[in-house]
């Protein structure tokens, strides 16, 4: 029986693995199963290709986490330049790469309050490849200007800045960040998405080719690695997610990630 084609979520995971190519140490925050799967796939691919070893630190995992100095160690490690890539979400993300994890409305008594900024205001400055990842891609998330800057996309001249936004991956497509502009350029649209839909769902202006490329599906080897080894590894930290994923790929029709 031929393998069913890649689902929308598998395309996200494979895209993350591509964005992580060449990194040595990737950290993944808590409650982030898709970034964790992408990092595990990147590790498996590097191993298969005989490339240098890729370390992963998954917060919330026992097996895939080697920190022993408490919750400060991730930040110390990032400050020392020992972490190459990390993922940030965002209740709001704007065209200048600013991220808002605090809420909607005027601070502090906001209309909507989210949990808080976590480590973003530090990690965005210290980790070179921060991948902004949010499945929901609507004009309420991708805004012209965020209501609160948890972490700024770029900094003024003279400010110590070793890291920042590298890419923005959503349920609709992949953008790369240009810090000199500063702004996003649409790299590819996921299967089934159009440029018109993308403009409609995005509150900020972005650069793009006249006919943007389609996000490439994985080859057979990569897909097999993802559905085998990676899912097994993922099951330790995210048992429910891994189980649901298995059901989805076993002959079930691929589902759209966003509507």
């Amino acid at each position: 029986m031929k393998n069913p084609p890649a689902t929308a979520r598998e395309i996200l995971i494979v895209t993350i693995a591509r964005l992580l190519h060449g990194t040595r140490h990737v950290a993944v925050g808590a409650a982030s199963p898709i970034p964790a799967a992408g990092a595990m796939l990147a590790r498996a691919l590097a191993e298969t290709a005989g490339e240098p070893r890729l370390r992963i630190s998954i917060l919330g995992s026992v097996k895939h986490n080697f920190f022993t100095n408490g919750s400060t160690e991730l930040f110390d490690c990032a400050g020392q330049g020992r972490i190459d890539a990390f993922f940030l979400g965002g209740g709001q993300i704007d065209g200048a790469g600013n991220v808002n994890l605090i809420g909607v409305g005027a601070y502090p008594e906001m209309k909507v309050r989210w949990p808080g900024s976590f480590g973003s205001a530090y990690l965005y400055f210290t980790i070179p490849r921060v991948i902004l990842f949010r499945e929901e891609h609507t004009s309420r998330v991708m805004v012209e200007k965020v209501d609160f800057i948890s972490a700024p996309g770029t900094s003024a001249e003279g400010v110590y800045r070793k890291g920042g936004p590298y890419a923005l991956l959503t349920g609709r497509g992949l953008f790369m960040f240009d810090k000199d502009k500063p702004g996003f350029r649409l790299e590819s649209l996921h299967p089934g998405q159009t440029l018109e839909q993308m403009h409609e769902a995005t509150g900020f202006a972005f650069d793009h080719a006249e006919k943007p490329a389609e996000t490439a599906p994985p080859d057979e080897t990569t897909l097999a690695l993802l559905r085998g080894r990676v899912l097994e590894e993922l099951g330790e930290t995210y048992p429910d997610f891994a189980a649901g994923f298995r059901t989805e790929t076993l002959g079930v029709e691929p589902k759209e990630v966003t509507t």
């Binding site: 808590a30 409650a31 919330g60 920190f67 022993t68 100095n69 408490g70 919750s71 400060t72 160690e73 930040f75 400050g79 994890l101 605090i102 601070y107 502090p108 008594e109 906001m110 209309k111 909507v112 309050r113 989210w114 949990p115 808080g116 900024s117 976590f118 480590g119 973003s120 205001a121 530090y122 990690l123 965005y124 400055f125 210290t126 609160f148 800057i149 948890s150 972490a151 700024p152 900094s155 003024a156 003279g158 400010v159 110590y160």
Partner: protein, 269 residues
């Protein structure tokens, strides 16, 4: 009747700055419930190290908190923290938003007994813009301009946490959860609940001594089996996600919160 939890709880007074651990780090829920039941404390300033969860939400819901200094408060996979979110939206509590390493830096300054700790990042964020207590200075060791943020030392009056074990001398085994030691170094009083009290000396064996917070930093210890429930305790038990979801649903309103607290009190007493 007075018991060990009451003895610990009596150290916590109105207006104190209380350091509390991250939701997976050993949250003293049994002690927290006892503080709420006693009902004699108000106006607390909570310092989340570096984020908060159910404990913070419950203390806010019980009306015991005036200020929360934190990098985030949530119930993790069970969603947002309902009493926290409501209190921030309505302005009932003062929120001091931070970022995780800034809280670690403030505690480290207290540990070193220096007035502040410099930290990278933060510049240009609205977190920094809203923290009048954080100063920006030019790095005096740099030739060119190099602005850097100074985080004042954080001195909690009390640090509270739950750990797997202590010995009779009050030495507490914290394993690799070093931020619990950081809290204790910075705080004037440290109160610890544990799953079990062992008859051996944790300091006598190099293997346990390396992960032990010496009694020097520990004010008092009380036994509280499953004392982190419904949060989990590393190496001992997983979080009770069903109970966390039940709380998240109930505490959406103040009345629902009160009903939940009344109903679950008998279970933990």
């Amino acid at each position: 009747m007075q018991d060990d939890l009451d003895r610990l709880a009596a150290h916590v007074k109105s207006g104190m700055r209380v350091a509390v651990p991250v939701d997976y780090g050993g949250v003293p829920m049994a002690l927290t419930r006892r503080l709420i039941t006693r009902g004699d404390v108000t106006d607390l300033h909570l310092i989340c190290v570096p984020t908060g969860g159910l404990q913070v939400d419950m203390l806010i819901g019980a009306g015991m908190v005036t200020t929360v200094e934190t990098s985030a408060v949530s119930l993790g996979e069970a969603g947002g923290a309902p009493r926290f979110n409501d209190a921030v939206r309505s302005g009932r509590i003062r929120i001091l938003d931070a970022t995780c390493p800034a809280i670690h830096a403030g505690l480290l300054a207290a540990q070193k007994a220096v007035p502040f700790m410099p930290i990278r990042g933060l510049l240009g964020s609205d977190i920094q813009a809203n923290r009048a207590d954080w100063q920006v200075m030019d790095n005096p060791l740099s030739e060119g301009a190099d602005p850097i943020v100074l985080i004042p030392a954080i001195h909690p009056d009390v640090a509270v946490f739950h750990a797997p074990m202590a010995d009779r001398a009050g030495n507490v085994w914290i394993g690799r959860r070093r931020e619990l030691a950081a809290m204790a170094y910075a705080a004037r009083t440290t109160l610890v609940t544990v799953e079990r009290i062992v008859e051996t000396d944790l300091m006598a064996d190099e293997l346990t001594a390396a992960g032990t917070l010496p009694a020097l930093y520990v004010t008092d210890v009380a036994l509280a089996e499953r004392g982190a429930w419904p949060h989990g305790l590393w190496g001992n038990y997983d979080p009770d996600s069903t109970e966390l979801r039940r709380y998240a649903a109930a505490a959406k309103t103040a009345a629902g919160f009160a009903a939940y607290m009344a109903e679950t009190e008998s279970e933990i007493a």
